[in-house]
Symmetry: C2
Subunit: 326 residues, 2 copies
């Protein structure tokens, strides 16, 4: 009898090992008026390459048994370092002509979260957000306080001009010389980056990083660094990262609302995101999208804009999309 | 036939007028280790007087047919001006020895919201939050950017030292001379103020104002200025204002979670707040409370701390409480 019990214990532990959750990673590089007519083949190829490299990097972490938190951070560092997205290098420019970066990260296994806003000299804001999560008693730090905390904890610093790219500067100049209405002619009005990952242990993490909105007011805080608005993760429900017109994402509480519909309304991930993006956000005539993974590994990538840079990886499946139809 | 239709239209419009919603106003002045043994009769009387004056002021606005937004603002201005609460005058002191104030306000009729954080020289942060709601394209502004915007829009400014009271200074000195662990000996560790109102038109508004946590790090943002964490209002569900250990309120997304349980889970206000405060918040070993009004005018004032300064007014009923049992 005891022998049979031990055999069964052994078999069930074997099953537990073989029942590792299949890892999933999904990313976005911003939603907006991304259309084929405003894209060159070279630019499209470069953007697809950047998205793929970042996604592969994070997925490797997951495949190697790494945590969802590590995968999200690794992915977002690459997207921040790429000049093609509105986060880290390539961030948009404030009305005053400088860069103010925001980022947040959340660990769905324990609801720990970290966020920074108004960052001017930390090379990778997502790393600063994670340091706040790990080493600060606080969840959210702003500006100098955030930078001091991050640099004291070993984060790499750069000059504010490091974040500037010629393309962003040209648009900013055009806006401020009255040649273009604020942001309206910019092909990638939003361009925030985000990542959600589900690791082999079934833990979910989400992260978001952004330069905010082009020509934004000095010291404006958008949805990206706000837990519940731009980012949320809870192993019991899902992980979410948003991109779009941040003020509406704050007012709706988009990321938390998706999670709460699953937690309290018994909805599927797809039903939840469809309601929040296509009914609620669209009903307020606001634009944007999100990426999400639920605890079963289901993926959602809804957006109500012409396009959204996006992609996912899971066992034997890789996808990258830019426009509404691909 | 047409005549009967007109009569019935006339009668139903009469009924609509007579069916004005009965206004309700609820306030808090912070949750924490508020116990009889640490209170003198004089202090208790002064605090009860301040709470009552602020509540009466807001309720007068509602009785006169004013909006929930106006009632919330009028109430919170008085609580900010009172030295007894951790908001406006009487705010706690940061590690660096200054005051950094946060506030937010939300209009449940249209989900508009405004928030300011890191305020040093605007006398009434709740007014600054409302100006952001009304006149800025943004929802949330920080520090200098917020102050510049508020003062350009006519908000009264003061020296940072205006917010200091002898009582707060004494505690801060004790902490920083190593005589007390951070905040642990302070009777009202939290002390944020908040107000939720339901007006005759059935509109709900919520607002929260705070000095943050005693000895907090420079540039820390707590839950009070975060829409969805410390404040939320939606005519379809309820209005909520929170007080407590802000980092946990952000991680849970307390105010939005209460609203979402009603919206998506079909719960009553009481069931919703009981879950979030007594199961979720207590489950994380975090402390605090909230006030809320739902669209039917039901009130909730749960807290898992020894006490919470609180009160409400509605037709022929006035209540003020401080401790767990009164």
């Amino acid at each position: 009898m005891k022998f049979i019990f031990l055999i069964s214990l052994f078999l069930s532990s074997l099953m537990a090992v073989s029942q590792d959750v299949k890892p999933v990673l999904v990313i976005h590089g911003g939603a907006g008026t991304i259309e084929r007519k405003s894209m060159t083949p070279d630019k499209e190829a470069a953007i697809r390459k950047s998205l793929k490299e970042a996604m592969d990097k994070g997925y490797e972490v997951l495949e190697g048994g790494g945590s969802a938190m590590d995968a999200v951070e690794a992915t977002l560092v690459l997207l921040e370092n790429s000049p093609w997205f509105n986060a880290g290098k390539g961030a948009v420019i404030t009305r005053e002509g400088s860069h103010e970066l925001d980022a947040s990260i959340m660990d769905g296994s324990n609801l720990n979260a970290g966020a920074v806003s108004g960052i001017k000299t930390i090379k990778n804001p997502i790393r600063a957000a994670r340091i706040v999560l790990e080493k600060s008693p606080h969840v959210m730090l702003y500006g100098e306080g955030a930078e001091r905390f991050a640099s004291e904890n070993g984060m790499e610093t750069v000059e504010n001009s490091y974040f500037t790219t010629p393309a962003r500067k040209e648009i900013w100049k055009a806006i401020n010389q009255g040649k273009s209405e604020s942001g309206k002619l910019e092909p990638s009005k939003f361009g925030t980056v985000g990542c959600v990952a589900l690791d082999k242990k079934g833990n979910i993490a989400s992260g978001t990083s952004t330069g905010g909105t082009m020509n934004k007011a000095y010291n404006r805080i958008g949805d990206s660094p706000i837990i519940g608005a731009g980012t949320y993760a809870d192993n019991q429900t899902c992980g979410v990262s948003c991109t779009g017109h941040g003020e509406y994402f704050i007012r709706i509480g988009v990321a938390k609302e998706v999670s709460d519909q699953i937690a309290f309304g018994g909805k599927s991930l797809e039903e939840a995101v469809n309601f929040t993006i296509y009914e609620k956000l669209s009903g307020m005539e606001a634009e944007g999208g999100l990426i999400a993974i639920d605890k079963e590994g289901n993926i959602a990538m809804p957006f109500n804009t012409p396009g959204m840079y996006r992609g996912f990886r899971r066992a034997d499946e890789t996808y990258i999309g830019i426009y509404g139809d691909d």
